[in-house]
Symmetry: C2
Subunit: 295 residues, 2 copies
């Protein structure tokens, strides 16, 4: 089944790249194939300076080998080899009126026979548009509900907790869903778990291209661009300080350029920046908290 | 003695801010006083948009309270209260021909009676100038040699190992010195350790203002500015992924804006950027490795 999952992730990468190129207009993905010295490799695809997307990556990888000790420790596992495959996406749009998006779907298998799926998708608007937020969460809820009515409420809460920048006391964006260690239970066979992961993977392109069509032509000024760069700074903080996928990649001697394609083309830090009450920037900050019920 | 050390760190902050303002010309430090809820506080001073310094901070803090569990674990210590005081500095100059500099001197005391000094100073040129690198290391060696001939060789190696960006396989800059857990030994009394830390603290202003006078008026073009922004991206990577001081600050619920004043005003990431052989950028990269003997 591992081969079947791996092949499906490859085809997901192909389909998503095609959809994003179509929606962007001029942007084209550049592909780099790479091998990991300790086993496996990947297909990194990066698009820069498109009409809508300033910098974005859609990465496929399938890596294997001895599990590093720090990861065994963190997961409380005995010494074993691992196999990990998945697709990771981050899109940084040119326009501050377009949200950043991230998706990851992954499958993990240990030589002792244990396996699990994980993944997530979350949206980081520079300016929160409530209609977009409701659309995004409703689409995820609909996808989840086809598989288990418990999925959306549980995984939405998990995303609120995961995509949280502790040291800023704010969420990265408006959240989405996050899940990990999904394995076989009396309610869910491996095939059913895989079907759910496919559903989420297939949700990405229609959701983001809809937002591209809707928002990428909205007007903005230098003021919105300055705010975008500060928000990108927070995105960098989350990814480098807190993101477990980034940490796993760097710890397992992954390809650094593929892992850090998630970073924005440019980010700014301004000491002790303060928003103006009731300005759109402050209204966005007011919504970057856990527990907002969007649907 | 703890009060004496604390007061000396405060006066060091005053003296360094004064020297930097004089050398910069127009830049002035803005001060924020802050309290830490769990005990202690600090004096953050940030200068932005000076003639030479684009963004720089000189922070004093003295914090105390219960030691967080993760830190006790990392240091292999029993449950105890801590007191930590020090000065932390990072300067991001406007010109890519000027190096970034960092210094930290700190004193740590536990309620069980143990104590130690730590610190470091390192230089991160966007373009390595060999004369400047020799001057920087020679000055540090002279300062160290007044106290112990073993200090410079040991602490220089420690800096090479500490200021190393593992996932990039490059050092952050040309290094300097780094030291930690300096406590009482048969060779070194507490007073002698403190004298050494003072010596290093007092080295900062003359060294960096010399580099400001020498380099800040050198000509440069857009090309050098682009490279500077990529190098600032690496600085962000080091500070957020690897720096223990940043981690300690965020883990002990320190003041985020004071801790992250170390981040540059702007940083760029370009996917898989490649330098041109023999260009100044590549010649700089060739020198960003451990074990270069500068003196």
């Amino acid at each position: 089944m591992r081969d079947q999952i791996t092949e499906w992730f490859k085809s997901l990468q192909n389909n998503i790249c095609q959809s994003l190129e179509n929606a962007d207009g001029s942007g084209r993905f550049h592909e780099d194939l790479w091998d990991r010295e300790a086993g496996g490799g990947g297909r990194t695809r990066v698009l820069t300076n498109g009409d809508i997307i300033e910098k974005g990556g859609v990465n496929f990888s399938a890596v294997e080998g001895e599990t590093p000790d720090n990861i065994l420790k963190a997961l409380n596992l005995p010494k074993a080899d691992f196999y990990a495959t998945g697709v990771s996406i981050v899109m940084h749009p040119k326009s501050p009126m377009m949200p950043i998006i991230h998706m990851n779907v992954r499958y993990f298998e240990m030589s002792n026979g244990s396996w699990w799926f994980g993944g997530g998708i979350d949206l980081t608007p520079h300016y929160v548009d409530k209609g977009d937020a409701i659309y995004f969460h409703q689409t995820l809820k609909d996808a989840c509900d086809k598989h288990d009515p418990e999925y959306y409420p549980n995984f939405k809460k998990w995303a609120d907790d995961y995509f949280y920048i502790k040291h800023r006391k704010e969420t990265r964006g408006i959240g989405g869903i996050f899940f990990d260690r999904l394995t076989e239970t009396s309610h869910h066979s491996k095939e059913q778990r895989f079907e759910f992961v496919k559903e989420i993977g297939n949700t990405f392109a229609p959701v983001y291209t809809t937002l591209m069509h809707k928002n990428s032509a909205l007007p903005y000024s230098e003021n919105e661009v300055s705010w975008q760069k500060l928000r990108r700074g927070r995105y960098v903080e989350f990814n480098l300080v807190l993101d477990k996928g980034t940490k796993f990649g760097l710890d397992t001697d992954g390809r650094t350029e593929s892992i850090l394609m998630s970073l924005p083309p440019q980010a700014n830090w301004e000491y002790n920046y303060q928003t103006v009450p009731n300005d759109p920037e402050q209204l966005t900050l007011d919504l970057l908290k856990k527990g907002v019920d969007w649907v």
